[in-house]
C-alpha cells in the first residue's frame, strides 16, 4: 500500500497556482471542494442568532507518482477565499509549501507567508514572472516580505515544467535542511 505526501501551493488569486499544478502534475488538475463553517466576523449580523457562516471552498490539485509506493499530491490553496486557513486538513502534515507571488501584488502573499512561518511549515517563495517580466530581484522580494534567510526566493515562470520543478526543489531543499537540523539536534 503506497503512502501519500503533499505540498501546498498558496498565493493570491490569479497568481498561477493552478498553472503550476498543471505543469508538473501527471493528470490534468482536478478540483474539489469542502463546505467550511466559521464564526461570522464583523457586526453586520444583526439577528444575533446566526453566529456561523457556511462557505464552500474549492481548490485544485494534481498528482505526481514518485515511486510505486510514494505519491505526491500538490494542492493549490483556494486563492479567492482568504479563509482557506480554516481548512486545517489542507495544511496538516504538509511536506512543505510554495508561496507564489506576483510582484505587482506582493501584499497578497503576506497572509500565506505568515501562516507557514507560524505553523513551522517549510516553504519557498516563487516569484511568478509573467512573460519574462522581471521587474523585481529576489532580494527586493525577500526584503518586502521580510523573509527569513532560510526561506528561498525563486524567480520562475510556472507555465514551464522545468521552472515549476525548481520551485518545488527549493521547498524540498528547505524541508531537507530542517530534517537534517532535527537529526543534529537529537543526535546519536
Amino acid at each position: 500500500m503506497p503512502t501519500a505526501l503533499k505540498i501546498l501551493i498558496a498565493g493570491g488569486f490569479g497568481v498561477g497556482k493552478t498553472t503550476m499544478v498543471g505543469s508538473v502534475s501527471e493528470v490534468p488538475p482536478l478540483e474539489t471542494e469542502e463546505r467550511m463553517t466559521r464564526a461570522s466576523l464583523g457586526i453586520d449580523d444583526l439577528s444575533g442568532v446566526e453566529g456561523k457562516i457556511s462557505t464552500t471552498v474549492a481548490m485544485d490539485f494534481g498528482r505526481i507518482t514518485i515511486a510505486p509506493e510514494l505519491v505526491l499530491y500538490l494542492f493549490g490553496t483556494p486563492g479567492q477565499d482568504r479563509f482557506w486557513f480554516m481548512w486545517d486538513d489542507l495544511a496538516l502534515g504538509a511536506l512543505g509549501a510554495v508561496v507564489l507571488a506576483d510582484t505587482r501584488r506582493l501584499d497578497a502573499s503576506f497572509a500565506s507567508v505568515d501562516f507557514f512561518e507560524s505553523r513551522g511549515i517549510p516553504f519557498a517563495v516563487g516569484v511568478n514572472c509573467f512573460d519574462g517580466q522581471r521587474d523585481c530581484t529576489a532580494h527586493q522580494v525577500r526584503a518586502a516580505l521580510d523573509l527569513d534567510l532560510s526561506t528561498p526566493v525563486v524567480l520562475c515562470d510556472v507555465r514551464q515544467r522545468g521552472s515549476a520543478k525548481q520551485v518545488l526543489l527549493a521547498v524540498l531543499e528547505t524541508a531537507r535542511a530542517r530534517a537534517e537540523a532535527r537529526l543534529t539536534a537529537t543526535g546519536p
Binding site: 500500500m1 503506497p2 503512502t3 501519500a4 505526501l5 503533499k6 508538473v24 482536478l30 478540483e31 474539489t32 471542494e33 469542502e34 463546505r35 464552500t56 490539485f61 498528482r63 505526481i64 507518482t65 514518485i66 515511486a67 510514494l70 505519491v71 505526491l72 499530491y73 494542492f75 486538513d89 489542507l90 496538516l92 502534515g93 511536506l95 515544467r161 520543478k165 518545488l168 526543489l169 524540498l172 531543499e173 524541508a175 531537507r176 530534517a179 537534517e180 532535527r182 537529526l183
Partner: protein, 124 residues
C-alpha cells in the same frame, strides 16, 4: 422578519443532495480521513453490492486498480470531501476497502524520504 430564502432546483441540489447520500451525516463517527488518506478497494472482482449507494460503488470502482487519495475521489466524483470521507468510513466498516493514512503531524519526514521526493521531481 423576512422568510428564509428557499433554494430550488440546481442550487438546492448542490447543497442538499451530497448529504442525502450520507443520511444527513456531516462526519463519520468512527473513522478519520485526511485529504490524502489513500483508499484501495479490497475486492478485485466486480461484485454487486446491492446495499451500497451508487456513489460508494463508484468509489470501489475508482480504487480498484490503484490507491487513490480521498481528495482525488472527491474530485472525480464531484462530491464534497466530507461526503467522501463518510462514504469511505462506511466502506471501511464493511471491510470493502483498505486505507493508508499519511504520516501523522508528529511524524516528521526523514532526510531520506525528502531526498526520494527530490529525485522523483528531478526526473519529471
Amino acid at each position: 422578519m423576512p422568510e428564509p430564502e428557499w433554494l430550488d432546483g440546481e442550487a438546492a441540489g448542490r447543497h442538499v443532495r451530497p448529504y442525502a447520500i450520507t443520511g444527513g451525516r456531516t462526519r463519520h463517527s468512527q473513522h478519520h480521513f485526511t485529504l490524502i488518506t489513500l483508499v484501495v478497494a479490497l475486492e478485485p472482482d466486480e461484485v454487486e453490492h446491492y446495499s451500497l449507494q451508487p456513489e460508494s460503488t463508484h468509489i470501489l470502482r475508482l480504487c480498484r486498480d490503484r490507491a487513490v487519495a480521498v481528495a482525488e475521489i472527491a474530485g472525480r466524483l464531484d462530491l464534497p470531501v466530507s461526503v467522501v470521507k463518510i462514504l469511505c468510513g462506511d466502506l471501511l466498516n464493511a471491510s470493502l476497502i483498505l486505507v493508508q493514512a499519511p504520516p501523522g503531524k508528529d511524524e516528521q519526514p526523514s532526510v531520506e524520504l525528502i531526498e526520494r521526493v527530490m529525485d522523483g521531481i528531478r526526473q519529471l
